[in-house]
């Protein structure tokens, strides 16, 4: 595999004298991170595989453009987010009948649902995937699900930290309004939601 000689940022993050990582090493080190971001952006396993593959393909094609001005992960995040937004613009998303059940099947088969109630996650996941605008979803996933800092998000989106604050706040308020519209019991007195997970919050 070709050496990633152009990816000086990865070198600058390492101790002096540490050899430049191969492309294989770059993929190996960041694959789980990119997949996790893609998984929460796309909301399903099939699209997240495609998005992860596309992210590394584009990163490899444009590796010469990486100057180490941000971390490698931030750069990969930017590629993944752009690929996601382009795909959404191109294909949109058709809400399938029974989407709440279908989209959460993988999650509900996991042991995590024993810790965090499946009904609650299903509700949040559904609203994020099908009711949230893609640009809002990107912000909520980066900040609240994947824990990126405001500075990292600003770099990924190519906007100021002040703009991140404004847009994130708008996205969160919008999401809260969705929950209220759904009658979420955590937010609406007498809400019809029977989710135990929400009630625990």
């Amino acid at each position: 595999m070709k050496e990633l000689a152009e990816a000086r940022g990865t070198v600058s993050q390492r101790e002096p004298g540490v050899p430049v990582p191969s492309w294989d090493e770059v993929v190996q080190e960041n694959r789980d991170y990119v997949y996790r971001l893609a998984f929460h952006l796309s909301g399903n396993t099939h699209e997240s595989e495609d998005l992860t593959q596309e992210t590394f393909l584009k990163a490899f094609e444009h590796r010469a453009g990486f100057r180490g001005e941000s971390s490698l992960r931030t750069w990969l995040s930017r590629i993944a987010v752009n690929a996601y937004l382009v795909a959404k613009r191109k294909n949109g998303r058709v809400r399938p009948v029974g989407a709440r059940v279908e989209s959460m099947r993988d999650f509900l088969e996991s042991p995590e649902h024993l810790v965090v109630r499946g009904e609650f996650l299903q509700c949040i996941h559904y609203l994020l995937e099908y009711e949230c605008k893609p640009r809002d979803r990107v912000l909520l996933v980066m900040r609240d699900v994947n824990g990126l800092s405001y500075e990292e998000i600003a770099t990924v989106l190519g906007i100021t930290v002040g703009a991140v604050k404004t847009r994130l706040h708008r996205a969160r308020r919008g999401f809260r309004d969705l929950l209220v519209r759904e009658g979420c019991a955590a937010l609406v007195a007498g809400g019809r939601c029977v989710c135990e997970g929400v009630r625990d919050l």
């Binding site: 998984f39 604050k165 969160r172 997970g197």
Partner: protein, 64 residues
């Protein structure tokens, strides 16, 4: 600070992203403003709910 000004800052307040002066100003306003306190509570619950998705491991993470 007015209610509108405080409410615009609540998201950054929750994330600890306000400078000390802004945070103090928001704290002072919240002490005497019930509607803004309610706004903060509902926004905080919303953030917690979204963050809970982060507890879900992707299928690939579960298999490792």
């Amino acid at each position: 600070m007015t209610c509108a000004e405080v409410q615009r800052l609540l998201s950054a307040y929750i994330d600890g992203e306000l400078d000390a002066a802004s945070r103090r100003a928001v704290d002072e306003h919240l002490q005497g403003c019930e509607p803004c306190r309610r706004d903060l509570v509902s926004l905080t619950k919303t953030v917690k709910m979204i963050r809970a998705l982060g507890q879900i491991k992707s299928p690939r993470e579960r298999s490792t």
